[in-house]
């Protein structure tokens, strides 16, 4: 495992994080959840920006306290609200990064910046939010890192800019020995990119599933109250009261398609799964 969190706890006023999760090698892992669920705190704990009250954090198979400078060079990081000083420009960054990372490829970095139309001489404070987002990802990918940790890399971007960033991430994964831990509010971004998904709510992991299983085996049943009463509920995860009766989340779509074909069944999606897992009532 490249990242392992075991009951990592952090207490803030009005918020308690208690998170256990793993990021395997060669996979794109998503951490999703509503605003204030604990995604950024989890990222900050992994990166050593905040200190947990208890629990164990491993990075590259080592306790986080034993991480060396060489290990840190294997990380490519995007923080949602932070980057290099906005008074610097891309040419400055090349000088800084080439002295920061032994495997920084300045030529490739500059070519990619040009490809994405990022201005070389302008200070970052004059960049649009789309330009900054692309630059952050390019920096993270510029030094042959083994693991990308990306907190909301596509936040606030239009669909074209988002797709460009996702293409960059897909390209990054081609060698096969690299991994990504990503958080995003935009489920469509994750559906086409991630291998597995961890759902966090109020500081706790409430679900872990492979994306293929989530999209292929999860479904949303729409039933009347009478249909609900008669239904075998052994594979229902959550229910939610609706005007017509109930919406029911199942992780065994095929079971209900075979045993109750008359029921309306919608294909599972990350958005609906999040909504039902968080807002729905446990059965």
């Amino acid at each position: 495992m490249l990242i392992r969190l075991e009951h990592v706890e952090k207490q803030y006023s009005g918020f308690h994080l208690d998170c256990s999760m793993e990021v395997p090698e060669g996979c794109v892992t998503a951490l999703i959840g509503p605003n204030g669920a604990g995604k950024s705190t989890t990222f900050k704990v992994i990166l050593g920006l905040v200190f947990p009250d208890s629990g164990r954090i491993e990075l590259f198979g080592k306790p986080i306290e034993q991480i060396t400078e060489e290990d840190r060079e294997q990380l490519g990081i995007v923080l949602s609200d932070s980057c290099f000083s906005r008074y610097l420009n891309i040419e400055d960054l090349v000088s800084v990064l080439s002295h920061m990372y032994r495997h920084f490829d300045g030529k490739d970095f500059l070519e990619r910046c040009q490809h994405f139309g990022l201005p070389m001489g302008k200070p970052l404070k004059d960049f649009s939010s789309g330009m900054i987002a692309k630059l952050k990802v390019l920096i993270a990918m510029s030094h042959e890192s083994k693991l990308l940790i990306l907190d909301e890399p596509t936040a606030g971007l239009d669909v074209l800019a988002r797709e460009e960033i996702l293409d960059m991430l897909r390209e990054y994964m081609i060698p096969g020995d690299r991994s990504i831990l990503i958080s995003s509010h935009i489920s469509s971004d994750l559906e086409g990119l991630c291998d597995d998904v961890w759902l966090i709510d109020s500081g706790k992991i409430v679900m872990h599933e492979e994306t293929d299983a989530l999209l292929g085996e999860y479904g949303l049943l729409k039933v009347t109250e009478e249909q609900y009463e008669a239904l075998d509920k052994s594979h229902i995860l959550r229910k939610k009261k609706e005007s017509f009766g109930y919406s029911l989340l199942t992780d065994q779509k095929q079971f209900y398609q075979e045993n109750a074909p008359e029921l309306a069944m919608e294909k599972g999606s990350i958005d609906e799964t999040i909504t039902m897992m968080i807002r729905g009532e446990k059965i």
């Binding site: 920006l49 923080l79 932070s82 000083s85 906005r86 000088s95 800084v96 002295h99 920061m100």
Partner: protein, 218 residues
Amino acid sequence: MTGLLIKDWMLLKRQGRYFMIVLALACILSFMGSESFSSFVTSYLTFMISMFNFSLFSYDEFDNGMAFLMTLPSGRSDYVKARYTFSILLTSCGWLVGTLLRMGLYLVRFSVAEYIEILPSEPMYLLICLIYMGLAFPALIKYGAEKGRNIAFTVLAIFAIGIFMIAKAGFEIPFLKWIDRLAETNPFILLPPLAAVSVLIMTVSYALSVRIIAKKEF
């Protein structure tokens, strides 16, 4: 650490116009202005250039940039090491330029004898700036650029006002009187103890800053 030093150098280059204005003003006022300004050109340049070290904290903190810097391979203690190294080097450069300018000024406008008289005061400006940075940096790292700078300026102002009030009230501070007498006898005699104090303060300050940043959350 080299990467962080280069970052600071790049930020300094962005402020080239500020340094040009400071230097031009120093040159103009030195060679065309009154004699009173000429006498403090070294302290003016050293102080103005050392102020940039305080601005560097603000540049790093802009848009929550510190969090990102702390994820870089160099780590937390290297950040402090780079900041102290760069600040000492930059302030020393400012002081050196000021000293050379003042030397040239005295050779052109006044006399070598007059310059030799004021020579012992030259290193004092550098040492005082280093002491002030040593006292202020841990506060800047702990409380952030804005709050830390306010705390440092407030402490300095209270100290200066206190000395002024004591002097105005006619009280004599025996220690200061003793220093005055020493300086009159041999102006060079104060340099070694002041240098020792500045080295001590910088060393303690550095160790304190490393401890503060190691415990700080971003």
